[in-house]
Symmetry: C2
Subunit: 295 residues, 2 copies
Amino acid sequence: MDFLAWSAVGQKCIEATLLTLLPSLDAAPQQLHEAMHYAVLQGGKRVRPLLAFAAGELTQANPATVAVAASAVEMIHAYSLVHDDLPCMDDDVLRRGKPTCHVQYDEPTALLVGDALQSLAFQVLAENKLHVDQSVQLKMVRLLAAASGSRGMAGGQAIDLESVGEVLNLEQLEFMHSHKTGAIIRAACLLGLYCGQTVTPATHASVNEFGRLIGLAFQVVDDVLDAEASTDTLGKTAGKDLEQGKPTYVSAMGLDKSKTLALQLREEAMEILTEFGDRARRLRELADFIVLRKF
Amino acid sequence: MDFLAWSAVGQKCIEATLLTLLPSLDAAPQQLHEAMHYAVLQGGKRVRPLLAFAAGELTQANPATVAVAASAVEMIHAYSLVHDDLPCMDDDVLRRGKPTCHVQYDEPTALLVGDALQSLAFQVLAENKLHVDQSVQLKMVRLLAAASGSRGMAGGQAIDLESVGEVLNLEQLEFMHSHKTGAIIRAACLLGLYCGQTVTPATHASVNEFGRLIGLAFQVVDDVLDAEASTDTLGKTAGKDLEQGKPTYVSAMGLDKSKTLALQLREEAMEILTEFGDRARRLRELADFIVLRKF
């Protein structure tokens, strides 16, 4: 199966799994549940679930199990987008070409959608059998919770807010992004990995480092795309970073050097995968996809 | 030890445990961490942790273990207050006699404080040893996640928002409150219970029902206090329910009948505890405290 076919299968699988894990639209409170579906089932590239599937191949994890763990990751991602788009945060009205959650519904509903999706992510990790060893499953809860919290994604968002209008050096930029987007990307890889056979500390470290590099590359490419693309092709409001005075790789080092950095991060990520041989095929393809998607 | 002394010990214990579980103020992002401390360490009655300690006595749970599980519950409660106080929700400026989180800091910080506290609650449940049997610990994660989400607390909040200006009958009021405040109160009791010896389905059901009754009583008393008390003695803006057109027990059945209902719920809750004999002493005292606190 080529990469496009593989990722299409993964995307379909994750959509189907999310649909079974989300609350029924018949259950009260119906509007909240409808808005949760709206926030989660808008398509998107599903990069994090795909990373989980790909990392799961290193430990021969059952894809159906990975799909559940990856759905939890995707729920955290979806909640963060809903909250980031709120008027008091980025105040964005478009997401994947459609009205953001608080525009489609209202602000209180969007706030609760994010809150409830976060709860659901942990409920999903705790109530489905993801591993014969329940200590491994508790570890998955811990990994995702740590990646979501104040020393992970939410913390990165706080650093981002503090940084508006500031000039950040590359180290500070990397610190911010390794929290804001990197933590969940690393968690996606690790959760997929842990769904399979026993994970050695060395493998954990390698996959974590792969996730770190690819997460950073993802952000650099995002900054490049935001600077280059039009609102039409991006599906969200383009050029907002510059307009809002947010520090980006492009503002810190220019377009060309940003592209070079992305390619360099890809090289480093590929080197880490060498030890895994053929089993890392999908991770390699994803690294390429993430870095080369629109260059 | 009389009830006052016992609850003072419990409150001190939970404050100390929360302090060790919250991120250090030295760690980045510092302002977010400071605001998380502000939101969690403002005192309060700590009713939910006390319920956990009291329920833990039924299964001879180690209080130090219960303190960790109860801290997770209290973090969920604290996050919900921070988000409920936001301008797009209840728009409240006072909480326990002090500025609410978004007034003391700002709205984006308060949003992230809530988000990060929710993550931390699940991290705490997953990374501390709460039971020799890890399937029991996963069950605790599941219980708290379900109680927090769209079919628990967040869902209750959504129903509450939809109900502003509506006339609810008693059944609808109970449905709303059993989600909005009841779910977390039940979870507090059950998490304390599960920290100890094996819980039979019958004991689970009894404690869950006790939590349901006492959670409802708690809300009825809250409505009575809101209608009767002044802002000064309440420590939060009084009379807001009426002003905002929110349905309450007082608006649905009047002050006197509300008080009678609270006492009746207390009676039912006490009956359930009969089977547990002396071990339920603290649960009985808490039921009294909750219902009779200001009448």
